[in-house]
Symmetry: C2
Subunit: 455 residues, 2 copies
């Protein structure tokens, strides 16, 4: 016998229930994206290699899946190329396309390529899979969906306000109440680096600060020292490590620390605008929280930085994140296009909804009613009734074979079908249906109109 | 300046309108799939190479996109491997994964892998992209979506009946009235081959017969002769080339031609069952037509063969097709699983709906109302109103910048936004809104409740 086939590691099959649950999340997100005025775009699964390579750092380049050229691709490869035995050199000769690694670079490419057809500011959303040749582990996959919304072409802070509202709207619609939307601003981080005299070490500084939650104050300080940030600077930071209180109280402390930094004060001004506007507008179920340790390890952001964490009590990394970047399309030659965007972590949101049992109970129900098959004459009568049900949008099906009653009932059970209909001699004569509720076992004799009304 | 980036040939970007139109088709298909009791599954974009290779013939193997192994993949390649200069040998050393070529083989793999978790008969649908390294040309792409529905695990002919109904339901829901669902049966073709004494040339015979519409009777006969089918056999076929009349009249002619062929008569019986049941049940807008030249070039089908053509007057190849295959999963070691399925040609259906102007006119409308931005105080009032609209599911947005009125109006026009709202000093004082209809230019002063009611 042939070996049972398998799928590549780090990839997944999704059964009906999983697809339904994933779609429920994606459709909820999509609906709010649209209500907020975002427009969908889609880009190809693979891009020319030069579009992707060099955009995610050295590590990123290695994690990009490359597609082998088709046809007689070895003709482009010389003996000298082979002799070097370097994968990167070799790859560039036999591969010209690669699977997308995220949705941001393809989006930047899209904006530049279609700039004359786009009405700016351009509010786009995109929900598509991405691929990474990462080592697979629990919760990390080689193929996964990203759900992004971005606006490019405007520096207005009203957009930051709207993204906070958007997060609130999506998580509230998912009944996932009480998420924390953490906000920071890259200008605050720059200001801090300036004040402590470590402007040139901003990357090291933010990377270390980002770990405060995980490794604690002492280890963070140690790492900063190791990276060459002076002790005197770290001392000045002390108020940072123990920043307490609500948004406004934290802002007041920051004003003291950053009083001499122009960029820092600008960051404070931006945060204050977003916070006071959100206070004014109100949120449905989320809370907005200032988190000066938030850096998201990225040098990419230039203004607001967002991250969303699950409600208290749920152990889970961030379920969303984003921020403002001032030069999205510069890599493709279009300067000065500022953007701001957020994304939703589909797989993690799925796990959280599962844990808190927040998926609608109807999601497991595929077909509403199964018609039992007793023979050709009965089956024809069934299909006539089924036609009426389906025309009314009711999910109905006929068991295709004249199998034993028990087998057909079993099928209904395994498929979570709540009702079955039986048509035998008596029903054929009187043009009626015996309707049985699977869980209670209750039976009733009904007409077709009753049947349609029932569902 | 950097070069304007491009996408790989044979691939496409989709803008908001295109995504909306594609989704409209896919959602319509999906809804009918569900109403007919089909359940969604999804499989990974790439499979292990051994799952795909050898399943689509030699040509197919060449058209499969292979993914380069990641990491130090050259280590697996010996100098001897290199010396052979054979792409197929080389590829097997440096590539272990490949992008799926269709949805059928991954589906077969899925059924075998998850056979213990599946309730048979298994009615599944799958709507996902596939990739082919074909030479791109008008209407042929390297990445495109397939929309498939199949039932496996039952030989019941009621399923053929339901697939005819399903085609009718989908195209009727798309307002694409008058499509022709052509049906044939592989057993008819086998019977014909038997009668004319060319059982061993069934492939050549069906391939030639399939071209009747394109190259005409004489050329088809010539090709058959060239393939070694005897003239005496071709003469016996004459009634086939001029088969006229409705379904039942054609069946009667076939009964004469195939009177000595057991398999042929079986095929006739199956066709008669499907046709008479459909007559009894009725179709909404499609018509069912017997087409004995229908072979779909595939040796794959063992029973019914389907193909759908666009309404008369629309020049377009088939917009759907399918049939019964008796051994889907045998390639993966699970014997005797009969299946039947159909698929929808998304890209062609798109072109037909475009040509006949059948897309709903509301599809171009993204946002319903744009709020003009006159300054921070006004913008805040706008966002308060927008929040109310969005909570009611109305798509509304604020222009993010305080730009010139003309620029903001222009943006509304380019985005096909039908209404704008203006809030100035007067409106702020009276808590009202000036609502302007873009097309007519009509203005009215309304309250927030009015605004919500209006949309």
């Amino acid at each position: 016998m042939a070996q049972k086939p398998k799928i590549p590691k780090g990839t997944r099959d999704f059964n009906a229930e999983e697809v339904a649950k994933r779609n429920y999340i994606m459709e909820t997100i999509k609906k709010q994206f649209q209500v907020f005025g975002f427009q969908p775009i889609e880009t190809p699964s693979f891009e020319n290699s030069e579009t992707l390579m060099g955009k995610y750092g050295e590590e990123g380049d290695r994690l990009i899946f490359k597609i082998l050229n088709s046809g007689e691709y070895l003709k482009k490869l010389s003996d000298e190329d082979y002799a070097v035995k370097s994968e990167s050199k070799f790859t560039s000769k036999i591969s010209e396309k690669a699977l997308r690694y995220d949705l941001t670079v393809p989006f930047a490419r899209y904006v530049v390529q279609h700039q004359n057809d786009i009405a700016f500011p351009f509010k786009r959303y995109q929900i598509q899979p991405v691929w990474r040749a990462d080592r697979p582990q629990k919760g990390r996959f080689r193929e996964f969906f990203q759900c992004d919304a971005d606006v490019v072409g405007s520096k207005s802070l009203w957009q930051e306000v709207e993204f906070v509202q958007l997060y609130d709207a999506v998580f509230s619609a998912l009944q996932l109440n009480g998420v924390t939307i953490k906000i920071n601003n890259r200008k605050i981080l720059s200001g801090i680096a300036e004040v402590i005299g470590a402007q040139d070490k901003l990357i090291d500084f933010t990377v270390a600060l980002d770990k405060l939650d995980k490794i604690g104050e002492d280890k963070v300080k140690e790492e900063m020292l190791n990276k060459g940030i002076p002790q005197s600077g770290i001392d000045k930071l002390q108020p940072l490590f123990s920043l307490k209180g609500d948004f406004i109280a934290q802002i007041e402390s920051l004003k003291t620390i950053l009083s001499t930094s122009k960029v820092g004060l600008k960051g404070i001004e931006e945060l204050e605008f977003v916070n006071s506007t959100i206070e004014e507008l109100g949120l449905k179920t989320a809370k907005l929280q200032l988190d000066v340790t938030l850096a998201r390890g990225l040098n990419y952001y230039t203004g607001a930085i967002f991250e969303v964490s699950a409600p208290d009590g749920v152990k889970m990394g961030s379920i969303g994140g984003g921020g403002r970047y001032d030069d999205l399309t510069g890599i493709f030659g279009l300067k000065d296009v500022s953007g701001v965007g957020i994304s939703f972590g589909l797989d993690r949101i799925y796990l959280v909804l599962e844990e808190l049992e927040l998926f609608p109970t109807t999601i497991k129900e595929s077909t509403k009613v199964l018609f039992i098959n007793f023979g050709d004459q009965e089956a024809l009568a069934c299909l006539k009734a089924i036609k009426g049900l389906r025309s009314n949008g009711i999910k109905a099906e006929l068991y295709p074979d004249v199998a034993k009653m028990k087998k057909q009932m079993n099928y209904a059970n395994r498929r979570n079908i709540p009702y079955v209909v039986l048509i035998g001699d008596e029903e054929l004569k009187t043009d009626t249906f015996t309707l049985k509720h699977m869980e209670s076992g209750e039976q009733s004799i009904v007409s077709l109109d009753h049947l349609i009304d029932q569902f």
